[in-house]
């Protein structure tokens, strides 16, 4: 039996825009093995964002099954999805999405607070920040950090709950090429050292080639897969 952390079968997603139905996903199937690094590529309008939202449990598919870490999450309620997101998914966004008024430490503590971890919460958060090389910047606020450092805080936040997968949506999109390179190095080293499954959505071929496998999407379907 294969150790698949993501199993998507025949996913469809239909948006109703007034009278018009938009088919964002049309029977998409894919699998990601535990510890794998994959890149999802596709032009805008390909259904990339929709797939990302469903893989991240932010949205439900209209039909089809999505099994994340052995649990079918395609029919869960909003609050059940929130718990799944908290436990099993770590997000890294293009625009970092840190709370501007909170310190780096408080930002990283946030998922633990929603998980109900009160004990040792600080220690976990400090460990995560040290793992991304920001052990010296615990009490800085986002506006006191560089773009690369902010993205590191976001990665520490994604990491802190030991999720089954980390979803990175254009993680280097808002960074200069040097910091972007460093962030990719960091993500890949986390994958090597911790075995964290990494799903990166990008349209930068340089980023995609660093993944073990690239999935190309067009018009809501997987058009090709290639080993990098």
């Amino acid at each position: 039996m294969s150790d698949a952390v993501i199993q998507a079968k025949n996913l469809t997603k239909v948006y109703k825009m007034g009278e018009v139905e938009v088919h964002a996903l049309c029977g998409l199937s894919m699998e990601v093995q535990r510890g794998e690094v994959i890149a999802i590529m596709g032009p805008s309008g390909s259904g990339k964002s929709t797939l990302m939202n469903i893989l991240g449990c932010l949205d439900r598919p209209t039909s089809g099954d999505y099994i994340l870490d052995g649990e079918n999450v395609s029919k869960l309620t909003d609050d059940e999805l929130a718990i799944i997101r908290n436990k099993k998914v770590g997000f890294v966004f293009q625009s970092f999405n840190l709370l501007p008024r909170a310190t780096a430490l408080a930002n990283v503590e946030l998922p633990l607070r929603y998980a109900g971890v009160n004990h040792n919460r600080r220690d976990f958060a400090i460990a995560a920040l040290q793992a991304v090389g920001l052990g010296e910047r615990l009490y800085h606020r986002p506006n006191e950090l560089s773009g690369g450092q902010q993205q590191r805080v976001a990665i520490a936040r994604a990491l802190v709950n030991n999720p089954a997968i980390i979803l990175a949506d254009e993680p280097t999109g808002n960074l200069d090429s040097k910091s972007g390179e460093e962030i990719m190095d960091l993500l890949l080293s986390l994958n090597r050292e911790r075995g964290t499954t990494l799903v990166i959505v990008t349209h930068d071929p340089d980023i995609a080639t660093r993944a073990q496998r690239i999935i190309h999407i067009r018009d809501g379907e997987v058009v090709s897969e290639e080993k990098a």
């Binding site: 939202n53 991240g56 929130a82 999405n97 998922p111 929603y114």
Partner: protein, 408 residues
């Protein structure tokens, strides 16, 4: 997440926009301060009024002529009734009875002229009302029997006529043109808010009946003040007086031609009036608190829209509906709680100042703020915050994470 942590987080988020939070709080501050000030001033007025009623004397009953409206041929209260009620065998619960005949009269002295209340009284009046003279003597039984033209002056009327409050005994004043010798000056009973007890003249009842106030029946009196032997004996004294009067007036059952009021009746009436006043004032103040609550709702709605992205992020990180709900409710409750606390202090200040102004004008309203008022205001303002925070918080909690994250 525990309550204290989320409270501090709410405070932090509120202090990040100080001017806006301050203005929002102001609405609640004004509302709570108005409620506190109005209720405490109302209570102060009530205390002052009931205090002056109690100051009339304890254990007192008042007996007036006239009862239910449809009694035929009602009889006046006479000195004969007074003597019967004074009889300890007929009315064992009664200690003293004072009879009063009163009216307005023109009083002159050396060209100075005043219209004031003149009361014809019996000597028991001194006991029943606990009156003392600052100089001279009280009206005695001899004055009664002799229908003497003597008068006791209250300190205020003495001051108006003579320009002084002592050294007046032996002078002669004219009441409705008739000479009366001043035999004493009454001690001050203090200016009560609704009738000045110091601006009056007392003369013997018999003199008043014979010379000043002519009633259809020569023996008639206007009012009896009956003192019961103890506060507990007031109801039985009332029953005994009623029994005697019914017997003497030969009234049918249920057709009394007199009315007995106890001090408690006056107190109850006064309390009812001041309570209505307090509720009325408090109600108006509560409307301003309501307006403050709407201000909170408005600001929280703006805040939810502004922080849509933050809400989306929190949801992505695993916040459930209830978590977002609690976050925003805590913020609106914190707003109104802080506003409530400042409002209580401000309301206390306002009522203190009003009390001072009243005292400077001899009105003697000392506002009282009870712990119940403070609790009520705090609970009410927090409830306002929670109630008006509910809709914005629910709106925040119901945002779709995907759309909230995409929101610019």
């Amino acid at each position: 997440m525990n309550i204290i942590a989320s409270f501090f987080e709410a405070l932090e988020s509120l202090t990040s926009n100080k001017l806006r939070s301050g203005l929002t709080i102001l609405g609640i501050v004004i509302g709570v301060a108005a409620v506190i000030a109005m209720i405490s001033i109302g209570r102060g007025a009530e205390n002052s009024i009931t205090g002056s009623i109690q100051g009339i004397g304890t254990n007192l009953l008042f007996v007036f002529r006239g009862g239910s409206a449809d009694v035929r041929n009602p009889q006046p209260i006479t000195l004969g009734d007074v003597n019967a009620i004074s009889d300890p065998f007929q009315a064992p619960s009664v200690a003293h009875v004072a009879a009063i005949l009163q009216g307005q009269a023109k009083v002159t002295y050396a060209g100075e002229s005043q219209v004031t209340t003149v009361e014809g009284i019996t000597p028991e009046y001194a006991i029943v009302r606990n009156y003392h003279t600052t100089e001279g003597e009280f009206i005695s039984e001899e004055h009664m029997l002799g229908r003497s033209s003597v008068a006791l002056l209250g300190p205020d009327i003495a001051d108006k006529l003579f320009g002084r409050k002592s050294g007046i005994v032996g002078e002669t004043v004219r009441i409705e043109g008739q000479p009366f010798r001043v035999i004493g000056i009454l001690e001050s009973k203090g200016g009560s808010s609704f009738s000045n007890q110091d601006d009056r003249i007392l003369i013997p009842l018999t003199t008043a009946q014979a010379r000043l106030f002519h009633r259809s029946n020569r023996d008639q009196v206007d009012l009896l003040m009956v003192e019961a032997i103890s506060p507990d004996a007031v109801p039985s004294a009332s029953d005994q007086v009623a029994q005697i009067l019914r017997y003497r007036h030969k009234t049918k059952i249920g057709e009394d031609d007199f009315t007995i009021l106890t001090q408690q009746d006056f107190l109850d009436t006064a309390r009812t009036i001041t309570n209505i006043l307090t509720i009325f004032l408090g109600g108006i103040a509560a409307i301003s608190l309501l307006v403050g609550g709407i201000g909170i709702m408005n600001i929280m709605l703006v805040s939810v829209t502004e922080r849509t992205r933050e809400i989306g992020l929190r949801k992505a990180l695993g916040a459930r509906k209830i978590d977002i709900m609690v976050q925003f409710l805590t913020e609106s409750a914190a707003l109104s709680l802080v506003g409530g606390i400042i409002g209580i202090l401000l309301g206390w200040g306002i009522s203190f100042v009003v009390g001072r102004i009243a005292a400077a004008n001899n009105a003697n309203i000392s506002p009282s703020i009870g712990i119940d008022t403070i609790l009520l205001a705090t609970l009410f303002s927090t409830a306002v915050g929670l109630f008006f925070g509910l809709y914005p918080a629910n709106r925040a909690a119901s945002l779709e994470p995907v759309e909230a994250l995409r929101y610019e």
